[in-house]
């Protein structure tokens, strides 16, 4: 198996390596929970203006984004996609999922903040919603593309 850069600082003994990897992963999860609690206490809400709270949220964002990006690029997201037909079917599913995300964000925001009353408010609503949906689409699409390539390389015929 292809190893990570982290394996350079891990023990050669496979049992110790596995245990230490679990310890590091556990610490990351605990750290994420503590950062979230810290950020909530500091800001009272996620949209507060405390600098330390924002730093905590950025750190939390990194903790979530790093494994997500590694997962996306590693090609392990869509292990069963081995032919063109299934590939295109999954693209459609990803597109529909992104569209659902966009609609859900728009509905949730409208329910919480009310119907936008002017053009600026409409753009303030649609802009971030569109951006989030685009990110969801891109992450899934890249993951699918990487997985498809990896799966094709591993086919036995």
């Amino acid at each position: 198996m292809e190893k990570s850069w982290l394996s350079k600082v891990l023990p050669n003994d496979e049992y110790k390596e596995k245990r230490i990897l679990y310890f590091i992963a556990e610490s990351a999860v605990i750290l994420a929970i503590l950062l979230l609690i810290f950020a909530l206490i500091n800001n009272y809400s996620l949209y507060g203006n405390s600098t330390t709270g924002t730093t905590a949220l950025l750190s939390l964002g990194f903790l979530i984004a790093y494994p997500l990006i590694r997962h996306t690029l590693s090609g392990i997201g869509y292990t069963e996609v081995t032919n063109e037909k299934r590939y295109h079917k999954e693209i459609k599913a990803i597109f529909n999922r992104s569209l659902t995300t966009l609609v859900l964000i728009l509905i949730t925001h409208t329910l919480m903040a009310g119907i936008p009353s002017n053009v600026t408010e409409i753009f303030d609503l649609i802009g971030p919603a569109f951006f989030i949906s685009l990110v969801v689409f891109m992450i899934s699409y890249i993951s699918l593309k990487k997985s498809f390539k990896k799966n094709r390389e591993l086919l036995d015929d």
């Binding site: 050669n12 003994d13 496979e14 049992y15 110790k16």
Partner: protein, 63 residues
């Protein structure tokens, strides 16, 4: 996973530490494998089998 590593090791007059050194792991890992508390990778299974002059069947196959 149950195995016959301990019997094969004793037959070959090796200590846990000596076997561990041969297959490049710690004595503790050999102890855990012998007790069935850690499932080694196939790579390590093969290394242990070679070090003890046994086949994988001899060491790991359950009758």
């Amino acid at each position: 996973m149950r195995n016959r590593i301990k019997i094969a090791r004793v037959e070959k007059s090796l200590t846990q530490a000596q076997l561990a050194k041969k297959v490049n792991v710690t004595r503790q890992t050999i102890g855990l494998i012998e007790k069935g508390e850690y499932n080694p990778t196939l790579r390590l299974c093969i290394s242990i089998a070679k070090a003890l002059d046994k086949t994988l069947d001899d060491l790991y196959w359950e009758e």
